[in-house]
């Protein structure tokens, strides 16, 4: 290899290393300036009464999001009206069972009560206690768990650096919107996107490479180096995707991309066993369009209609000998299969049950009564459940 070429190769390798170092430094700085964690807010309807007396009220705050690390947050606060900070306290329970009581700081006001936080560990439960008699007109607007303010400090930089690697090594599942995996790290932060990091790394490496080699490398050599640089960084970014693809192979049917459809396919197998082959028309009713359409596919070649969401929409079209598949529970529909009847609004169907499970029923329509005639049997609550 000619000496000049070797020189160029070494300089480009140096550019790649410099580019990588600066990419991490820039992104970690951006993360530390932006702040790594967003605040968590609870509304009044998320406060559940645990204990209530005239001089004591204990409220349980739910839900608690998973993996809330308390060291990332510096205070709890309550926004409201006519609050009395001296009568309020929080009880924090960590995942390991340790509890801690927090009292309001002296700079609290009647509209904003602040509880300084200096805990570590994972948050498990949160309770708000109000001592003494409540003031008339006092109300809570919302409760916030507030993160440490963003700042450019060594500690934040270190945390940002750790968060970057965590995002790059994390794995995401299927996107429900279309047939592709959403990959790319924490969606909460654009900054930690591996694709963005790859582009930044590439741009910085090219810049360093151009500065270092522009005097002695020909255009051809620079283009070759650029092509290799792109393919190298591309392949490194791809390692993450490659790992995700191979991990997908090790998944069982219940956790793979087919998981959502597999459960419905099993239902369809049971339906197929009871549905006569010569069936002309099958109507599928389910509260979820996804279930209806997948069942239609799984029941092929039965000729099914899967577009109606309620029985009342369907009833004018139903005839004797049509078959109904019901994925239960269905809002507005009472199934009384013990007495071979289905009620929906003003419609009563006389049916013959072919399959009756807790969450699935297949019936053959014998008669449709769309009038207001009383059914021959008034269902009692115990009748509403299909036979096992």
């Amino acid at each position: 290899m000619p000496k000049s070429t070797l020189h160029t190769v070494i300089l480009f390798a140096l550019s790649v290393l410099l580019g990588f170092f600066f990419t991490q430094a820039i992104l970690a700085s951006a993360l530390s300036l932006r702040g790594l964690h967003s605040s968590i807010q609870w509304q009044p309807n998320q406060l559940n009464t645990l204990h209530k007396k005239t001089d004591l009220l204990i409220l349980d705050i739910k839900p608690i999001p998973p993996d809330i690390q308390l060291e990332h947050y510096n205070r709890l606060s309550i926004r409201g009206a006519r609050l009395d900070p001296t009568q309020m306290s929080f009880k924090i329970t960590q995942l390991n069972g340790i509890t801690q009581e927090l009292n309001a700081s002296t700079d609290s006001t009647t509209e904003h009560v602040i509880f300084p936080l200096a805990s570590t560990g994972t948050l498990h439960a949160l309770q708000l206690t109000l001592h003494g008699e409540r003031h008339e007109g006092s109300s809570i607007l919302h409760i916030d768990l507030e993160p440490h303010p963003a700042s450019f400090s060594l500690a934040n930089l270190h945390a940002g650096y750790k968060a970057l690697w965590q995002a790059w090594l994390s794995r995401e599942g299927l996107n429900v919107y279309s047939a592709h995996f959403v990959v790319g790290g924490e969606k909460a932060s654009y900054i930690s996107s591996p694709s963005l990091a790859g582009v930044l790394w590439l741009v910085l490496s090219v810049l360093f490479g151009w500065v270092l080699t522009r005097r002695h490398a020909t255009v051809e050599v620079q283009l070759t180096a650029l092509a290799l640089l792109i393919l190298l960084i591309w392949s490194l970014v791809d390692l993450r995707w490659q790992r995700d693809l191979w991990l997908e192979h090790s998944k069982s049917i219940d956790t793979s991309a087919s998981a959502a459809t597999h459960a419905i396919d099993l239902q369809a197998e049971r339906i197929q066993r009871v549905l006569p082959k010569e069936t002309q028309r099958v109507f599928i009713l389910s509260a979820k369009p996804f279930d209806r359409l997948r069942l239609r596919y799984a029941l092929l070649p039965h000729n099914s209609h899967a577009e109606a969401g309620t029985l009342e929409q369907l009833s004018p079209q139903l005839h004797r000998d049509d078959h109904l598949v019901l994925v239960l529970p269905l809002p507005g529909i009472n199934t009384n299969l013990a007495h071979n009847q289905i009620y929906a609004g003003t419609t009563t169907l006389e049916v013959k049950a072919l399959l009756a499970e807790a969450r699935l029923a297949v019936v053959k329509v014998l008669a449709v009564n769309p009038n207001n005639a009383k059914p021959s049997h008034i269902p009692r609550p115990t009748d509403l459940e299909p036979r096992p």
Binding site: N175, H180, F181, S193, A227, I230, D238, P301
Partner: protein, 486 residues
């Protein structure tokens, strides 16, 4: 093997037969193009083979009421043997031709990229053969029809949902009753070969489509004199693209086939304009013919985006002495067409629909009112193309490559026609996609993320072609005379 061997045979026979025929038609005198033409003919041969297989099933059902799969497979076997005897590919080896020596570092990269590509195809192969029809569009549109036809043994009609209740007995409901049937017939071809409806294995043709796409890109790049190591690097980029991988692994969508068909058309046009290779004409014809057979409406956008190159390609295909006459005929034809189809504020386009101008509001067929809202698509586009990893870094690198391409174009004298054509193609795609994505009818699907990636998948091979051309370190003055149609 429970039908798997027949399925492999049902994919290989049409593929090889069509590829051999296309290779014979593409044959040039230039030894340098041999490998490229093999790759191009294998890429386009797969699409042609699947289309002809589907056509045989359709024809059988129309004439005899059933599919005659075994007759069709037998016909392919006879066709393959006849083509082998006719073309004698083993006699085309040129003993006097010795390829140029390749430096050791390039050999290393060739080996590395081949290994990576093999690993990826293995990974995708495992996934495609284990997923039970997971793709939404597949089981509500394409595979649904195929599964039904397979069990019924005939092409039962599909009607829109609202008319199903009053439709004659034997009609099935579908929201996409008007969609073309080619993709469903490909599913059906696989199921008939298996002898059963296997929710995973009927998607195996999608793996073949991925391989055909890679071969088409390889052939197109090598036909443009790109070094083998860089060409394979480009193919690796394409086959490692997450959005393409998922279209293969979670198979059943029509978009992969549309990408394959569009690649034939766009690469054919670029190769024809750049070097007037005979192979290019085959690709253009195949692309033009197959696009409308695959997916409803989208083909119009793709055809519109290639229209400047199509006009250019037609213009240079005409002998210089006839060009003025062609230009005049085109103008007269346009005026006549407008006179016959323009009434009040409407221009009626046969098959496509109406273009109208109502109160300064332009309405286009398939797109609706042209009232682009570019502000609303900016955020989702940025998120999906640059932040999420569906595309790796393709869009960032493409933007960079386009810049290099423009610089290279401005520095060249005389200008490389391929580079000019690439720039025109990028501009027309950018303009038409922006108008389409920002239009009120399409915008909701861009915002919810269901269309943004799939809709742009068609452009992925073109973008990689652009990147590799921009990075091409070898300056080659293409000898048009050596590769022109003789």
């Amino acid at each position: 093997m429970n039908g798997l061997a027949t399925l492999v045979l049902a994919l290989i026979l049409p593929w090889l037969s069509s590829s051999l025929i296309l290779h014979t038609l593409m044959k040039s005198n230039s030894s340098a193009h041999q490998n490229a033409h093999w790759a191009l003919s294998l890429g386009s041969g797969y699409l042609l083979g699947m289309m002809l297989s589907a056509a045989m099933l359709w024809l059988g059902a129309q004439l005899g009421g059933t599919f005659y799969f075994w007759s069709a497979l037998g016909l392919w076997l006879i066709l393959l043997l006849a083509t082998l005897v006719w073309t004698r590919p083993w006699q085309n080896v040129r003993p006097n031709f010795s390829p140029p020596a390749i430096p050791i570092w390039q050999k290393l990269f060739l080996g590395l990229f081949l290994t990576l590509i093999a690993l990826r195809l293995t990974s995708l192969g495992i996934e495609i053969t284990h997923q039970a029809m997971p793709a939404w569009d597949a089981w509500i549109i394409w595979a649904e029809r195929a599964k039904n036809w397979f069990y019924l043994g005939q092409l039962a009609p599909y009607v829109p949902t609202e008319t199903w209740l009053n439709a004659p007995s034997g009609s099935y409901e579908s929201e996409a009753a008007h969609y073309p049937i080619l993709v469903s017939l490909i599913h059906l071809w696989a199921a008939l070969a298996l002898g059963r409806w296997d929710e995973a294995l009927v998607n195996l043709p999608w793996l073949g489509a991925g391989i055909a796409l890679a071969l088409t890109l390889y052939g197109a790049l090598r036909s443009s004199h790109i070094p083998a190591w860089l060409t394979l690097g480009g193919v690796w980029m394409l086959l490692s693209l997450p959005i393409l991988n998922t279209q293969i692994a979670i198979a059943g969508y029509a978009d992969l086939w549309l990408t394959l068909a569009y690649s034939q058309l766009i690469f054919g046009l670029l190769l024809w304009i750049g070097a007037r290779q005979r192979a290019a004409l085959i690709l253009i014809l195949l692309g033009l013919f197959s696009l409308p057979l695959i997916k409803h409406q989208v083909w119009l956008l793709l055809l519109a985006s290639t229209s400047p190159l199509l006009i250019w390609a037609i213009f240079i295909a005409i002998p210089p002495r006839l060009r003025i006459g062609f230009g005049v005929a085109l103008c007269v034809g346009t005026v006549l067409f407008l006179a016959l189809n323009l009434s009040n504020d409407h221009l009626h386009l046969p098959v496509l629909g109406d273009i109208s101008l109502q109160a300064t509001q332009l309405v286009l067929p398939g797109l609706g009112k042209v009232a682009p809202d570019f502000g609303s698509i900016a955020e989702p586009m940025l998120f999906h193309l640059f932040i999420l990893d569906s595309w790796h870094m393709l869009w960032g690198i493409s933007a960079f490559a386009w810049l290099i391409l423009i610089v290279r174009l401005l520095r060249q004298n005389p200008h490389d026609l391929t580079l000019i054509a690439l720039n025109i193609s990028l501009l027309s795609n950018l303009l038409l996609y922006a108008l389409s994505y920002a239009s009120p009818r399409v915008l909701p699907f861009i915002i919810d993320g269901t269309l943004v990636n799939r809709g742009l998948l068609y452009l992925a091979p073109l973008l990689i072609f652009v990147i590799i051309h921009a990075l091409n370190p070898t300056r080659v003055d293409i000898d048009i005379s050596s590769s022109t149609t003789k």
